[in-house]
């Protein structure tokens, strides 16, 4: 093994020396043989010639010895690369055009893939994320709901205690809470979680412990919290003495019992949580509503998650849960909460509600960005194919012009495989350079795309970054190999088939008929792909224009001024949506938009604000 490695090292880096050594050795051999001849009585002049002829061509021996050296292919590859770089450098215009074409193609694909990967494909950083599902109820919903994937607390309890398909179930509710520091208070996203949360997810604490059964058994019982790793690092400087300290959340003293493992920020990839609080503390964390204690069965607010038992598919679990849901609904339909406002036919419809399981890593952004992103990837894929066809055509033309070069190489003994490899190496060099430039382009493109294409705050909340990670790099590598094969293979095969005798004669300007027909075909492919893209782009632009003319979907009512401490803000009421703007541009806060919050019709005096990106919560009566 070691001798092999040493041999490889010698082959690659001490080539000159071992070649000289070999020549000396063969020279000595010839001398020795001729001496022997002389001793046998041959004339010294003839002896030397005789010895050489016996050796049978020194050059050929040298070549044969080289061929058996360890790592000879690597050495050859290095030769090919060096030769390829020289060849490409000799025609800079061609190389630059090729690299730019590829950079655009690979860059566009990488940019879209990077977004797709982070928005759609990424799984939760928990153990076995593919076994995790969201349990939701579809159909006619009666009562109040906090979101599309929510169910009521009593229903969650029933599902948790009676199902046969999950090894564990938990639920969560996202809330915005005010954390008090010594001199100021800020609004931070929190996740209220039921007791099995960390255990079911398989998320550990890197410091202290996570929330367990005891912390979440009695309402208002245990004022404890677990910090997310990033929040602990950024706001508590990673202080290891944080355990046992109390922190003020919404004015309640809560004890820090642990810090969750790094890179885990809650189960909603779209909105990372900074702190985790037992859901039994709901009353304290969300003063404006109390779904936990009033136990209304038609108040949906928790998102329920389950971990599938081994060997149970999502479909089977869904089928198995359906009778359970049905029995729960049959009970609910009899309750006054339902019968008060619903008719008998409403009840019949209600009983047809179904349980539906979603992948645990799903979230709102994912649902409505999935298809557009795949579509964009398909479009950029077509662009890349187009670039490949274009380059293949260029390379074919180039190969025709280089026929003499190939013929000369073939004539002095290069194998056809070697010529083909040479051409493929050149293609690979081009696409490698294209990939590097494309990666840089993708980084820039992603920054622009994130600004224009994703909802305003997603990038920060969703932790989407334009910086490529390992998966994106792997994608680029794949794209690079793929493209170089696509555009390089045909010209390489063609180049290696050069006819020596014909090419060495002067017949510049002539081309084989098959070469021309192949290039015509490539042009046809390019034209049709371009047409496809043009039509697609045209439709896209039309849709965009239509969307622009559609209006925002609400009339801008007169702004209402409200006061929120030192931060005067304006409210726009649009339907029951509330939009806040800082009335006066604050330093570093130029009319930033705050979205979210609903006007509670039951209690119009009260304004429930969910989030406000000026960092100020709003819990004050509005008119």
């Amino acid at each position: 093994m070691i001798s092999r490695l040493r041999a490889l090292w010698n082959t690659l880096f001490r080539r000159k020396q071992i070649d000289r050594d070999l020549e000396d050795e063969l020279q000595a051999y010839v001398e020795l043989v001729s001496e022997e001849e002389v001793r046998a009585g041959v004339d010294p002049k003839d002896a030397h010639r005789e010895a050489r002829s016996q050796a049978g061509g020194i050059d050929q021996i040298v070549q044969n010895v080289r061929n058996v050296r360890t790592g000879v292919w690597l050495d050859r590859l290095a030769q090919d690369v060096r030769h390829g770089v020289r060849t490409l450098a000799k025609s800079p215009a061609f190389s630059l055009v090729a690299i730019a074409t590829l950079a655009l193609g690979i860059g566009a694909n990488t940019a879209i893939f990077s977004l797709l990967d982070q928005v759609v494909l990424r799984l939760l950083p928990v153990s076995g994320p593919e076994r995790l599902v969201i349990v939701r109820e579809t159909g006619n919903h009666y009562g109040n709901s906090y979101g599309p994937n929510t169910i009521s607390w009593p229903m969650f309890e029933d599902l948790r205690d009676n199902n046969q398909v999950f090894s564990g179930m938990f639920c969560r509710f996202p809330a915005s809470v005010t954390i008090g520091f010594s001199d100021h208070a800020v609004q931070i996203p929190a996740e209220l979680v039921s007791s099995a949360y960390f255990q079911t997810l398989g998320v550990k604490a890197i410091l202290g412990r996570t929330i367990g059964q005891d912390d979440d058994s009695v309402p208002d019982g245990k004022p404890v919290l677990v910090l997310s790793y990033s929040f602990w690092r950024s706001n508590f400087n990673g202080d290891r003495n944080i355990l046992g300290r109390t922190v003020s959340l919404n004015g309640y003293a809560m004890t820090v019992i642990g810090v969750a493992q790094s890179n885990f920020d809650g189960v909603d990839l779209g909105s990372p949580a900074n702190v985790f609080v037992p859901i039994m503390m709901k009353t304290e964390m969300t003063p404006h509503s109390d779904g936990l204690k009033d136990r209304r069965r038609r108040l949906s607010w928790v998102t329920a998650y389950g971990r599938l038992n081994p060997g149970i598919s999502m479909e089977r679990a869904q089928l198995s849960l359906q009778p359970l849901l049905h029995s729960i609904l049959a009970m609910e339909v009899e309750q006054p909460e339902f019968t008060r406002s619903a008719t008998a036919s409403d009840g019949q419809l209600f009983l047809r509600n179904r349980v539906e399981l979603l992948p645990g890593s799903d979230n709102g952004l994912r649902e409505y960005k999935r298809e557009p992103l795949w579509l964009l990837l398909a479009l950029t894929g077509a662009v890349l194919l187009l670039a490949c066809a274009n380059l293949a055509n260029l390379l074919l033309a180039r190969a025709a012009a280089r026929e003499r070069e190939f013929a000369v190489r073939l004539a002095i003994g290069a194998g056809r495989a070697r010529i083909m490899r040479q051409l493929l190496v050149e293609s690979l060099l081009l696409s490698a350079a294209g990939a590097v430039v494309g990666l840089a382009l993708a980084f820039l493109a992603d920054r622009v795309l994130m600004r224009t294409y994703l909802p305003a705050d997603t990038a920060a909340e969703f932790q989407i970054s334009p910086i490529p990670d390992g998966r994106v790099l792997a994608f680029v590598l794949g794209a690079m190999l793929f493209t170089s094969l696509i555009f390089g293979l045909v010209p390489a095969v063609r180049g290696s088939r050069t006819e020596i005798t014909l090419s060495l004669k002067d017949r510049s300007g002539t081309q084989s008929a098959s070469g021309i027909s192949l290039r015509r075909m490539l042009v046809a492919v390019q034209v049709s792909l371009s047409l496809l893209l043009l039509v697609g782009a045209g439709l896209l632009v039309r849709t965009l224009r239509n969307l622009e003319n559609l209006g925002a979907g609400f009339s801008n009512g007169p702004p209402t001024n409200i006061h929120n401490g030192a931060n005067p803000q304006r409210i726009f009421l649009c339907g029951n949506q509330v939009i806040l703007r800082a009335a006066k541009p604050q330093p570093g806060n130029h009319a930033r938009r705050c979205v979210g919050g609903t006007l509670d019709y039951a209690d119009p005096e009260r304004l429930c604000m969910a989030e406000c990106d000026s960092g100020q919560g709003l819990r004050r009566n509005a008119n």
Binding site: S3, R4, L32, A55, I61, N64, V68
Partner: protein, 110 residues
């Protein structure tokens, strides 16, 4: 690039070189002459096969080489067996004996 020799022949050449070097270190021509000697002139290994084999076996770690002086005071490259080379000689000899015995038995069968 054509394969220099079939596997069987290559194995034979390797074994002969190992055997030739078993007693003493030799330079390239010495190996060739020694093989001719021990095979009763049946094998005349030409430089074109000898040197690629020597270098290949050196890279495999069976031989080591050094520059020395020939019996006629010429500078020449000498080869000798390494520990791995001795082991290789042992296993190859056994294998060869098994094969030749089997071949002989097979050919004798009527």
């Amino acid at each position: 690039m054509p394969a220099p020799q079939s596997d069987l022949l290559q194995g034979t050449l390797d074994l002969l070189i190992l055997k030739a070097l078993a007693l003493q270190e030799l330079h390239g021509m010495g190996v060739s002459r020694r093989i001719a000697q021990i095979t009763g002139g049946a094998f005349d290994v030409k430089a074109g096969s000898l040197f690629p084999a020597l270098h290949r076996m050196e890279q495999a770690g069976w031989l080591k080489s050094f520059w020395g002086e020939s019996e006629t005071n010429r500078r020449a490259k000498f080869y000798s067996l390494t520990r791995a080379g001795k082991k290789q000689l042992h296993t190859e000899s056994e294998r060869w004996e098994r094969i030749s015995l089997a071949m002989a038995t097979a050919l004798r069968t009527t």
